[in-house]
């Protein structure tokens, strides 16, 4: 579901500028599946799909697969269009050290939105 994050680096030149000082590793969970995502200088350098025995990461975003699918629609419905909107509906949980996420909030929003079908790809 999130494996293709690594394939889209070429299309995200603006994001690599916004994240030029960002080096982190975070996890996205759909409850059933887990993805460990490594970022170096704003580029996604690795996406590993679980299951994991002892995963090490800085922060984790957890929502059900159905909620992630709604978020990834080309034009998501109200309440599914943004990770803070999902937080507000209590369908997404932020855990861990949130500093990399909050200091690069727009970066992560656009990174995840880059997985939406191209016609609504909101890259700046």
């Amino acid at each position: 579901m999130f494996k293709s994050l690594i394939e889209k680096n070429e299309r995200r030149s603006q994001l690599s500028i916004m994240g030029q000082y960002l080096n982190t590793c975070f996890m996205i969970s759909t409850v059933d599946d887990e993805y460990l995502i490594s970022i170096e200088k704003g580029n996604v350098t690795n996406v590993e799909e679980g299951p994991f025995v002892m995963p090490s990461y800085i922060f984790k975003l957890t929502a059900s697969k159905n909620e992630w699918l709604k978020f990834l629609q080309s034009t998501p419905q109200p309440g599914s269009h943004d990770i803070i909107a999902m937080l507000r509906r209590k369908v997404l949980k932020f855990e861990g050290d949130l500093h990399p996420l909050m200091s690069h909030l727009l970066y992560f929003k656009l990174l995840l939105a880059s997985l939406r079908p191209a016609e609504s790809n909101n890259e700046n």
């Binding site: 034009t75 998501p76 109200p78 309440g79 269009h81 943004d82 990770i83 803070i84 909107a85 937080l87 507000r88 509906r89 949130l98 500093h99 909050m102 200091s103 690069h104 909030l105 727009l106 970066y107 929003k109 609504s120 909101n122 700046n124």
Partner: protein, 279 residues
């Protein structure tokens, strides 16, 4: 290429708010019924750039938009320090009423968005006779905190970046990218701690509670319009408010928390009929 000049005039003026000297910036355009517009938390009057350029509205209304103290081109008040700003209900009401009195406006219409959409409810409760009408955009009677707002002002996170990131998500994915970017840019330009300080009013001090029942729509007509993509003040929350007041709300499709700024074309389709009803 010749410059295409807009009909907007910018002004600076000095007056006292609660006995404290302030230097305030405002913009205006048009002639007729004064329409005072209130911007959202952490932003400034540029959010109303489309209204200030709308020929149809300017024929009937004198549109006036001021930057709140600490915001946009308005100065902080005397003896200010970084990190101490907190907007209270009382001080918000004072600045609006002082501005209206200072410009000697008689029975203006006041339209506010978000925190502005909240404060018009307080104005409706306390001073209904002072206004020709009140328009709330993205109005909700209260808001329970749903994220930790301390992230908006800490020295190890760039305030402009995080405030812009928060604002961006509050807009509809269907709004034009250029207008979304400009709306976000206003947030990126806010001073340290100002958005957070405004949210003290929005999430704590300005919660209305049962006082909402005191609003009498017959004393001053109230109009409530909310964008469907707003998850801060949701259409459901505005509807609950409208039901309590006994009026109908207008749900705006394809816009989020900043209708006048993120998608002016769509917003004006909803606003024109409202403004035509006011005489």
């Amino acid at each position: 290429m010749k410059i295409e000049k807009e009909p907007i005039t910018g002004n600076y003026g000095k007056f006292e708010i609660d006995g404290v000297k302030h230097r305030i910036y405002w913009e205006e355009a048009g002639e007729g019924i004064p329409l005072v517009c209130l911007h959202t938390a952490g932003s400034d009057g540029r959010q109303y750039r489309a209204l200030l350029n709308d020929k149809k509205i300017l024929k009937k209304y004198r549109v006036i938009v001021f930057d709140m103290p600490w915001h946009g081109k308005s100065s902080p008040p005397e003896n200010s320090q970084v990190g101490h700003y907190k907007l209270s209900t009382e001080s918000y009401i004072s600045q609006i009423m002082s501005f209206i009195d200072g410009l000697e406006l008689v029975k203006p219409v006041v339209m506010g968005c978000s925190i502005g959409g909240r404060i018009i409810l307080h104005l409706a409760i306390h001073f209904p006779e002072k206004f020709k009408a009140l328009i709330g955009l993205q109005s909700a009677g209260h808001l329970d905190p749903y994220y930790d707002i301390s992230w908006l002002h800490r020295q190890d996170v760039h305030g402009g970046e995080v405030c812009g990131g928060i604002a961006y998500g509050l807009m509809a994915p269907t709004s034009p990218e250029n207008d979304k970017f400009e709306t976000m840019w206003h947030y990126m330009q806010g001073g340290p701690g100002i958005f957070k300080g405004d949210l003290f009013f929005y999430k704590f001090d300005g919660n209305i509670g049962t006082e909402i029942k005191k609003i009498d729509n017959s004393k001053c007509p109230i109009f409530l319009l909310t964008g469907e993509y707003d998850y801060s003040a949701t259409p459901e929350e505005t509807k609950s408010l409208a039901d309590t007041i006994g009026i109908a709300m207008i749900k705006m499709k394809n816009v989020g928390h900043f209708p006048m700024s993120e998608n002016p074309e769509e917003f004006l389709k909803y606003l024109h009929p409202v403004l035509e009803k006011i005489n």
